[in-house]
Symmetry: C2
Subunit: 341 residues, 2 copies
DNA sequence: TGTTAGCACTCATATTGTTTGAGTGCTAAT
DNA sequence: ATTAGCACTCAAACAATATGAGTGCTAACA
């Protein structure tokens, strides 16, 4: 059987109607909804065909039709081809007060959630390989030493170390110089035994201190727990089909744990395939089998990127979601570009 | 009417039974449950009295009784008097891998949530008045300057500032020295116009840089958004009485926003009254009117403390909750003490 | 005087049956 | 190829009924 123009029109009409109402849509509705001027009976025949082809389904014998995942998929693919979703009058404004990355991200997650009425999650950029850009030890008070580690992309990490021995200003300077000399530009793998050995001999003593510093560096760099922020998790209560306590609980749990979702978003790794849509069962995550997940990638610099995800019901307003995401991306890009120059 | 020993026993039995089952408890149940060896009829009489006194209530004419807030209050107060909740065999173990404050707190929230099966929230310690302990500017690369600000209690804040002018190592040293001289030990209020004026004249030029630095300092210090972490929000689905979507949504929202809850926890400010219990309407928060909130305070050093909160249904297992909190407190105390020495 | 047995009464909940209406599939006519 | 008409299905809404846990009250009892 062939999926001709008319069938497509009807399918689109069914889906759009279902997106709005969340109720199965019947033939009479479509007969009036579209400008095809066809009677409900004709529509019924077409619907019957569409069902046979697997794009729609009846939840029970005498109900209207609802789209299957396959139907949604077709619809979304058509949407995506539609050139760019015209930048409409969405007012997305990031109130990035401070320029701190984390507050920008939190704000971004919130903006998305508020604008779309779905749940959102955003991850901090993940670096392929962290490299040390700069290192500094500073004596804060007689007992504590502050270590500041700056990684590629200006990620700043700091830790306080307790020290017993009193270090002179001079020693510190020497240590700083030495550490930077040996470690600058290295990633975690490259800090191997031989490098460490060199540092040890070079430093002459302070062995326990050095160990502690290296420890701190290691944990700072390997911290592969990507930071992630969620917003609007309670939006899911707005959609009756997610509203039973079992599902809601599972979903909220996923949003709280973040880990699984992060994996999902990063699963196709480095690819910058722009916007990805997972409809229902297409998602590998148990918790989101009844949902759709839309993910997008934002870039900070070459090879440094983070992800945004939107989670909502299957019948999410894909057009709006994709539009909103695109807007936000360009907004983020601008912020980071400004940040760079 | 008098609240004699027997009435108390019966009340306690009612509450305990209700805590377990969540169902209204009838006279026959109590008659068998307690070792008072009284018939259900007698119990009925007593219950009638207890109801008149306002400790219990019938949800509808022919149902068993459930405790009122007043009843819970009495029960909780009795509990609290019971010396210390004997340190039972709760296995609370903080896997504080890193010694970073935030990961300790996240872990603590999780431990609480897992152990009690309620939702938990923990706030990072709030300082009465932040004072500057130490300041440092460092050139990271030709365009960016790292400012590290260490506040009382070793809170480290850092920011990157973009600079156009190229600063010599010397200038930086001078600026560092100067800033520390003028600002060390001050809180935000004390950094007034006259101090700023002095810094400006002393620095000779770099006016825009100085402004930027002062800005950064101000935002770092006033950031009165107390960090807060939640865990186990989805536990609330385990209690049918909170499980309708309206309530659940409100609660989860409160847990997501965190702000209101933080205010609740800090509302009696500095007082270290140990463990506080808000039962139902006693809480000023709309979202938690159907819940109980138990809060506790942990101390890092004199005047520096944070809060932990547990949110669950009215019929929460107060005994367990209080016990768990006490355990956790001592655990935290130890960690921070070790951290100090 | 406190306790108990007995009984009529209440009312939420569960069960069952009935009605309604949206929606379908099929067939015959256009 | 399209449409009108009709019988059929079934979820959802509603009503009527049964069930049973639990109460309050009274009268008997220790």
């Amino acid at each position: 059987m062939e999926l001709d123009e008319r069938k497509l029109t009807i399918l689109r009409a069914i889906i759009q109607n279902y997106l709005e109402t969340g109720e199965p849509v019947g033939s009479r509705t479509i007969s009036k909804y579209t400008d095809l001027n066809l009677s409900s009976a004709t529509i019924r025949n077409e619907m019957s065909d569409l069902e046979e082809m697997g794009y729609i389904i009846q939840p029970h014998t005498s109900a209207g039709r609802i789209p299957t995942d396959k139907g949604y998929r077709l619809y979304v693919d058509m949407l995506m081809q539609d050139k760019q979703a015209e930048m409409d009058n969405l007012r997305i404004e990031l109130n990035a007060k401070s320029e701190k990355l984390d507050s920008i991200l939190k704000e971004a997650a919130k903006v998305i959630a508020v604008n779309t009425n779905y749940a959102s999650m955003i991850t901090a950029p993940r670096y392929r390989k962290h490299r040390i850009k700069f290192l500094q030890l500073t004596q804060v008070d007689p007992e504590s030493l502050l270590t500041v580690i700056i990684l590629d992309g200006n990620i700043v990490k700091n830790n306080l170390i307790h020290v017993e021995e009193d270090l002179t200003q001079e020693t510190l300077l020497k240590l700083n110089l030495m550490l930077n000399t040996f470690l600058q530009g290295l990633d975690l793998q490259e800090i191997n035994a031989s490098v460490i050995q060199k540092i040890r001999t070079e430093s002459g003593g302070y062995s326990s201190l050095i160990s502690e510093i290296l420890d701190v560096i290691a944990t700072s760099m390997e911290s592969e727990e990507v930071e992630a922020y969620t917003s609007g998790s309670t939006n899911i209560f707005k959609y009756p089909e997610l509203n039973d306590s079992e599902r809601a609980s599972g979903l909220l749990n996923a949003l709280e744990e973040k880990k699984q979702l992060t994996e999902l978003m990063y699963q196709e790794g480095d690819s910058d395939r722009g916007i990805q849509v997972y409809i229902g069962d297409e998602s590998p995550l148990e918790a989101t089998k009844e949902c759709s997940v839309v993910t997008a990638t934002y870039h900070i610099e070459e090879g440094v990127y983070g992800k945004i995800g939107i989670i909502g019901p299957r019948r999410m307003d894909y057009e709006k979601v994709v539009g909103t995401l695109k807007r936000l991306m360009s907004e983020l890009d601008q912020i980071f570009k400004k940040d760079k120059q």
